[in-house]
């Protein structure tokens, strides 16, 4: 159990060469071995979604995977969402619409929403509510999360309206 393996994790376009036990979860490896602590641990059994990352274009719970299973895949975390100093439309919208309070669940919601909007830019309100029901937030009561994601979706479809452009 304690024999360590050398693996490479590709996070936000950058390779991290790490040495981990086979049993180490992906989220622990991202946080402890790669030093990216924006991905949070809320329940360790795949319910809350605070640890959501995008792995080869799919949103996954990084608490339910082992780090060794993620070798050779591309992983996106909240740290890679902004383009340099330019925030992603979702990040701006969460701020503008007060879509976060304590901010602990926020990285998970951002990654869930980012992947959803990239793959389904024309998602309707009902489908969006369905998707966003897969993560838990304890502070906001969700209504501003929905508003923020809806606003970002509209902006991403009409980038001309993007105030940063």
């Amino acid at each position: 159990m304690t024999d360590k393996l050398d693996i490479i994790l590709n996070l936000n376009g950058r390779d991290h060469s790490i040495r981990v036990e086979p049993r180490k979860t992906l989220v622990d490896a991202i946080r402890e071995d790669c030093g990216l602590t924006g991905t949070h641990i809320g329940c360790e059994h795949g319910v809350c979604g605070a640890c959501t990352v995008i792995l080869d274009g799919e949103t996954v719970r990084s608490c339910l995977m082992f780090a060794v299973q993620a070798q050779g895949k591309t992983i996106r975390t909240v740290e890679g969402l902004a383009d340099g100093k330019t925030l992603h439309p979702l990040q701006r919208a969460f701020m503008a619409h007060h879509g976060l309070q304590c901010g602990f669940c926020t990285p998970g919601f951002l990654m869930l929403a980012a992947n959803t909007l990239e793959q389904h830019p024309d998602i309707d309100d009902e489908e969006l509510r369905e998707v966003l029901s897969s993560n838990l937030c304890r502070c906001t009561g969700y209504q501003n999360v929905v508003k923020a994601v809806r606003a970002a979706a509209d902006e991403m479809r009409n980038p001309a309206k993007n105030p940063a452009n």
């Binding site: 809320g42 809350c48 740290e79 701020m95 007060h98 602990f104 502070c139 209504q143």
Partner: protein
């Protein structure tokens, strides 16, 4: 004492939060994100038995694991007493405090028995699994209504009996034309923040400083408590708050784990990190709410409540933790809510211990429970006397002419004085907003068509702004950035933004040029923290006091430097300007700060630094108020309840940032929805907890949570502070249990059907099935 009418630049504006940029980019710093060089990782071994005598504990196998540095049981920390009360010693309750590690008995599943310290968190967990213990099982006590059992030799599990009241209850009941009686239960649930608890202890021998990182809510109070428990001078202990992933009353109290990381940092001379997992959180962090009420009201024919007599069995779980009897005592004091109850009142609370997780405060402690109980009672009075429930509420609610309204009961040690407000006006606003008569007619028509839909409404009074005093230090650096150093705490509510808005308003600067400090006990001597919806009322008022002093000092220096009378000067965007000469000479706050440096030639006889300390004192809390209204639909096949619509009317006095106030309300509502319908810590007959994951303990997701319609009024600014603030944190959750219970009654057409929260599908299905049987057999 109010300056609420002046035009404002920042106060009252829904500006974006200062907190957000790091949080949306993954650069937050929560407890789990903090690491120190050479740190050890702690894992707690917990009791798997609800009640039993500890015969032996074997740590040898755990100690033999490579990477394990130490394994402690109670025998290793005999110099550390039980977790003490936040407010200081209470002799009668002292025997019921929780040991840091269980000594002779275990009293709930989750009770800490041993602590493993290892080089790696996985190794610590492996080793913890190897700690074995022999426990002689004792019968668990699981219902606070059952006869008390033995807590320890000579002490039974009824730790105390609390009382609040006035008047001759027996006489009023004897003469009253009507008596209405109910038995009601509020279920066991809790705050359950998304971030589990975390604590890091570190000892710096070079300076003899002990540090607790991951502190929250009440860091200054905890500094004192840790010093007391570890027998150290308070000046050698400091607490550091970082980002906190939700507080809700339960996070930030001192628990056994906080003391253990501190004690281990001292004894093992290495930093010690502990991060709780979710199962631990659900069985070890404070639970709340579990009370049984047997309540009676004496009434007149018109529904006037003459007297209330309530016997409460408060289930506090296994021990009395830092809050002592706070929730139970508050329950006794705030139960009458907005209603007059002129004749007599008596609340007797049996404060009892059971073999379940210890309980303490959770957002709106004593109010979520009592609004449910009181408003059930009012509905029952209306039904029994065949009166309109709204008319009964209006008959009893205190009127604006009776303000300020004093009641010989107490909340948090202060006599209750409702400071201001018009409860009737706000109720009418809510009724008008929903078109009450039309809404009821529509729902009746839908019920006639076979749908189970209904509406319920409650009135409530909140309380906020617990004193007695808060202090803030404001200092401007030579670049013009303003540091607002508070003894407050941020648990995710937007504390920094609100303080910055108030400081910016008073000083005449941009709120974004503020650096708001909280929860750092080495930056300011005094602080109380963030609880009892006190932060905005108390800390923002102190911020204003400090900002006024800094402003005066800045203008005094500027008058000298600009050679202009003080009364011609103003501060605009951080620049002191002459009001009478637009575009004329000006000087920035940064330059004034430089002119006040200790080596400056312009310092003169002044104290150096553009800085000041401001204090704000109060004698009484403030009492905001509101209404909750729920429209629900019941599925007769499953007993499931869907909330179709939810309306909250709330008078905040004055909102510093309405967007954040509404955020507090909608977030509180979602938690209340959980407590009303979904969330419950259940146990089997052996006292094994059955809700130990998020698959069993159901937090509301977006799917269950409708948008809240919020009617936020500012009709009655509080006369008790200069900004008129009344506090927002607990208004969204207060009435949810009561409103949804009432709406369910209405939907299923059985008055008084709901007697217990949460109204799970199983409970509601049982109610519906019982009615069906009654019909078949009746």
């Amino acid at each position: 004492m109010n300056d609420t009418t002046r035009a404002t630049q920042w106060i009252g504006q829904s500006v974006e939060r200062l907190e957000d940029p790091p949080l949306v980019t993954g650069r937050g710093r929560f407890a789990g994100d903090i690491n120190f060089s050479r740190q050890l990782h702690m894992r707690i071994v917990r009791s798997n038995h609800a009640h039993g005598k500890i015969l032996s504990i074997d740590t040898s196998a755990a100690k033999a694991v490579l990477g394990v540095v130490a394994v402690w049981t109670a025998a290793d920390i005999t110099d550390i007493g039980p977790i003490d009360f936040r407010e200081g010693p209470i002799e009668k309750l002292a025997p019921y405090r929780q040991p840091v590690l269980a000594t002779d008995k275990v009293r709930y599943v989750g009770d800490p028995v041993a602590a493993v310290f290892a080089e790696d968190p996985y190794v610590a967990e492996d080793a913890a699994d190897l700690v074995t213990m022999e426990i002689e099982e004792l019968p668990p006590l699981l219902d606070a209504r059952d006869a008390p059992g033995e807590f320890s030799p000579g002490k039974d599990t009824e730790a105390t009996v609390l009382y609040q009241g006035y008047g001759d209850v027996e006489a009023v009941f004897r003469d009253a034309p009507h008596i209405v009686e109910l038995k009601l239960t509020s279920g066991r649930h809790s705050g359950v923040p998304l971030e589990c608890r975390g604590a890091l202890g570190r000892y710096d021998a070079s300076r003899d400083q002990l540090e607790l990182h991951g502190a929250a809510k009440v860091p200054h109070r905890n500094k004192e408590l840790i010093a007391r428990m570890l027998n150290r001078p308070p000046s050698s202990v400091n607490c550091f708050e970082s980002h906190v992933g939700g507080g809700f009353g339960i996070r930030g109290e001192i628990y056994p784990e906080d003391i253990l990381v501190c004690a281990a940092a001292l004894k093992l001379e290495r930093p010690v990190k502990w991060i709780e997992d979710r199962r631990e959180h659900l069985i070890a962090a404070n639970h709340s709410r579990n009370q049984h009420h047997h309540i009676r009201a004496a009434c007149n024919d018109d529904g006037e409540i003459l007297a209330i007599d309530d016997v409460i069995h408060h289930d506090n779980g296994a021990y009395v933790r830092t809050h002592a009897t706070r929730v139970a005592m508050m329950t006794c004091g705030v139960l009458p809510g907005p209603y007059r109850v002129p004749g007599a009142y008596r609340a007797v609370c049996h404060f009892r211990l059971t073999n379940k997780t210890p309980a303490a405060t959770y957002r709106a402690p004593g109010r979520f429970e009592t609004t449910f109980v009181r408003e059930r009672l009012v509905d029952a009075i209306a039904h029994q006397l065949n009166l309109d429930p709204i008319a009964v509420r209006k008959r009893n609610a205190v009127t604006v002419d009776e303000m300020p309204f004093k009641r010989p009961l107490e909340a948090l040690g202060e006599e209750i004085h409702f400071d201001s407000g018009d409860y009737h006006k706000l109720l009418d606003q809510v009724l008008e907003y929903v078109e009450w008569d039309k809404l009821n007619a529509d729902l009746a028509a839908r019920r006639a068509n076979g749908e189970m839909v209904g509406v319920g409404l409650v009135m409530f009074v909140e309380k906020a702004g617990l004193g007695p005093v808060d202090g803030v230090r404001i200092q401007v650096d030579t670049s013009g950035i303003v540091e607002v150093i508070t003894g407050g705490a941020s648990i995710g509510q937007g504390f920094e933004t609100v303080m910055a808005q108030v400081a910016a308003e008073t000083l005449g600067t941009d709120y974004k040029k503020m650096r708001v400090i909280h929860g750092q006990t080495d930056r300011i001597e005094h602080g109380i923290g963030a609880h009892a919806s006190r932060a905005t009322v108390m800390t923002a008022s102190a911020t204003r006091e400090a900002a006024l002093l800094v402003r005066a000092k800045a203008l005094d220096v500027a008058a000298e430097l600009l050679q202009a009378p003080v009364d011609t000067l103003d501060i605009v965007d951080g620049e002191v300007v002459r009001r009478d000469r637009p575009g004329g000479p000006s000087i920035s706050l940064g330059k004034i700060a430089a002119a006040l440096s200790n080596t400056s030639k312009t310092l003169g006889g002044r104290d150096p630094g553009l800085s000041a300390d401001g204090y704000f004192h109060v004698e009484h809390q403030v009492y905001p108020y509101g209404n909750h209204l729920a429209v629900v639909k019941v599925d007769p096949d499953t007993g499931g309840v869907q909330v179709l619509r939810y309306v909250i009317g709330y008078d905040i006095g004055r909102a510093i940032n309405p967007m954040l106030v509404k955020g507090q309300i909608s977030g509180g509502f979602a938690q209340g929805l959980g407590g009303a319908l979904l969330e419950e810590f259940t146990y089997n007959e052996r006292g094994d907890p059955l809700a130990v994951t998020f698959a069993d303990y159901l937090l509301p997701s977006l799917r269950e949570t409708p948008d809240v319609e919020i009617i936020l009024t500012q009709d009655y600014p509080s006369p008790l502070n200069p900004l008129g603030i009344k506090g927002a944190g607990e208004s969204g959750i207060n009435g949810v249990g009561g409103a949804i219970a009432s709406a369910i009654d209405n939907a299923i057409g059985i008055p008084g059907a709901v007697t217990e929260l949460p109204v799970t599908p199983q409970r509601l299905k049982a109610i519906l099935d019982a009615r069906l049987k009654g019909r078949i057999h009746g």
